[in-house]
């Protein structure tokens, strides 16, 4: 799966957790999930669970610590998908 394909699949997952005053068009690859998209930090764990279900992968605690931007998520996902073959 290409980085762009992963990004496209991530957008609807992230959209669910956006506050009402943030638009789906604000989601960029470089967006910081909590600082820029204003997603409640408690919801990061929920985004990860949704990502796990969507891509059939599992995040480790260390992956969670690295997760700040949409790009971080894309790289972690691509890495996991590559390893799972």
């Amino acid at each position: 799966m290409t980085l762009d394909e992963i990004f496209t699949q991530l957008i609807p997952i992230i959209e669910i957790y956006l506050p009402q005053d943030v638009s789906i068009n604000d989601i960029k690859k470089e967006s910081d999930l909590t600082a820029e998209l204003n997603i409640n930090s408690a919801h990061l764990v929920d985004i990860v669970l949704d990502v796990e279900d969507k891509f059939g992968i599992e995040f480790a605690n260390a992956d969670m610590e690295k997760l700040r931007t949409v790009d971080d998520a894309i790289i972690i996902i691509q890495d996991k998908l590559a390893k799972s073959g």
């Binding site: 919801h43 929920d46 669970l49």
Partner: protein, 425 residues
């Protein structure tokens, strides 16, 4: 100088009516909200009936965002937020804007008995499966006792004391008195007070096991809850939420708010599980003292009380409650105030009963009527020996209520009594 405290908003989610207008019609008509529940039968409950509010998915979206409803599984928060926000809207209070200061003078006391039990079930299953990581962020906020007040505070931007109380079936009445004290002492100008109770086999099961709920009316649910009746055979479990906006009279007058009634006094006590009191039975002397203290606090004479909204759950204790009222007020026979029990229509809404019944009390005062007691065609003779049958209306009565008393009694031998006065302006 104590502040005078008035009621400026009402909200209710009751088994026999969701929202004040629907609930008002239901109590005027004597409509029952008790239904047969197939899941209770499937689970081998003795009592297979109960009172649960009917809330559509569309209705939920009027109060919650789709994000809030994701993984949402907590009726206490659902009912509490709906009733609370209806009361706030009725009082014409605007929530604080996002990115502005909270409303420093608005507080919340919203009680629960057991909250989030269905969420707790998910929590226990996932934990025991070794799958804690799959719980997500919702388990804590939906299972904490203060979940209802926390959700409401988030929607409103309440900046005063935001808390949760719990005193079994006295919870709702106690919540109102806690808010009343805070305003009377000048520490808040507005308090959203209420309580919430869930319908779940995991809550009702414990009462089924105790044999305190009726097993005799599974085929005739609307006749099952029989307060004051000779054939009362245990209560019917119920759920829902009631909410009231309390406000200092000066604040209400200043902003031109609609004033339903004034809280002129109240009392909270415990029988200490001594004498005839226990974990599950009230100490009658404590009940009488609580009522007497409320009357004294309100600075009225017991003869001034026009109407009593009883606790009256439809157990053998109903006669004892009437006896306690007679002794506390020193009134009996035809001199006794009018009395009714909402539980005939709703069942016993446990932690929510006090607040739902307080809403029913205020509505009766505001619209000058007394709702019918249902299912007591056969008045318990022990009760009839104490008070005249015409003091227990079985049809709606149109009459002015100037002063009303509302009491609730709970497991743990705890009591609460409020005295309301009609706003005559």
């Amino acid at each position: 100088m104590r502040k005078r405290v008035v009621i400026t908003g009402l909200g209710v989610v009751s088994p026999n009516g969701v929202g004040v207008p629907t609930f008002l019609e239901a109590i005027k008509n004597g409509d029952s909200g008790i239904k047969f529940h197939q899941n209770l039968k499937d689970l081998n409950f003795s009592c297979q009936i109960g009172g649960a509010p009917v809330v559509s998915e569309e209705k939920k979206l009027e109060y919650f965002t789709t994000l809030q409803l994701r993984n949402f599984n907590c009726n206490a928060i659902l009912y509490g937020v709906m009733a609370g926000m209806e009361a706030i809207s009725d009082a014409k209070i605007q929530p604080a804007r996002l990115n502005s200061d909270p409303l420093w003078d608005l507080g919340i006391v919203f009680g629960v008995g057991t909250g989030g039990i269905d969420k707790i079930r998910e929590l226990i299953y996932k934990t025991d499966e070794g799958n804690v990581r799959r719980l997500g962020s919702s388990a804590v906020i939906q299972s904490m006792a203060s979940g209802v007040s926390a959700y409401l505070s988030g929607i409103l931007g309440a900046g005063n004391s935001v808390s949760t109380n719990s005193s079994a079936c006295a919870t709702g009445t106690e919540a109102i008195l806690m808010g009343y004290e805070r305003i009377a002492s000048g520490k808040a100008k507005q308090m959203l007070c209420g309580s919430s109770a869930e319908d779940s086999p995991y809550i009702w099961g414990g009462f089924d096991a105790m044999k305190v709920i009726t097993y005799k009316h599974n085929d005739n649910p609307t006749k099952a809850s029989r307060p004051l009746s000779e054939t009362a055979s245990g209560f019917v479990p119920g759920s829902g939420a009631g909410a009231l906006v309390l406000e200092s009279m000066e604040n209400a007058e200043e902003r031109g708010a609609k004033i339903y009634a004034e809280i002129i006094g109240g009392a909270i006590n415990s029988g200490g599980q001594r004498n005839n009191g226990s974990m599950t039975a009230p100490n009658s002397i404590a009940v009488q003292n609580c009522i007497k203290e409320a009357i004294k606090d309100a600075n009225i004479n017991s003869k001034d009380i026009d109407y009593i909204n009883g606790h009256l759950t439809a157990t053998l204790k109903d006669a004892e409650e009437i006896n306690n009222w007679c002794k506390a007020l020193d009134r009996e026979g035809s001199d006794f105030p009018y009395i009714n029990s909402l539980k005939g229509m709703t069942g016993h809404c446990l932690a929510a009963c006090g607040s739902i019944e307080a809403v029913s009390t205020i509505l009766q005062m505001h619209h000058s009527f007394i709702f019918p007691n249902i299912n007591c065609e056969d008045i318990n003779p022990e009760i009839n020996n104490l008070i005249d049958i015409e003091r227990i209306p079985q049809h709606i009565i149109k009459t002015k209520i100037n002063i009303a008393a509302k009491a609730s009694f709970g497991f743990g031998d705890v009591n609460a009594c409020i005295i309301f006065k009609k706003n005559n302006q």
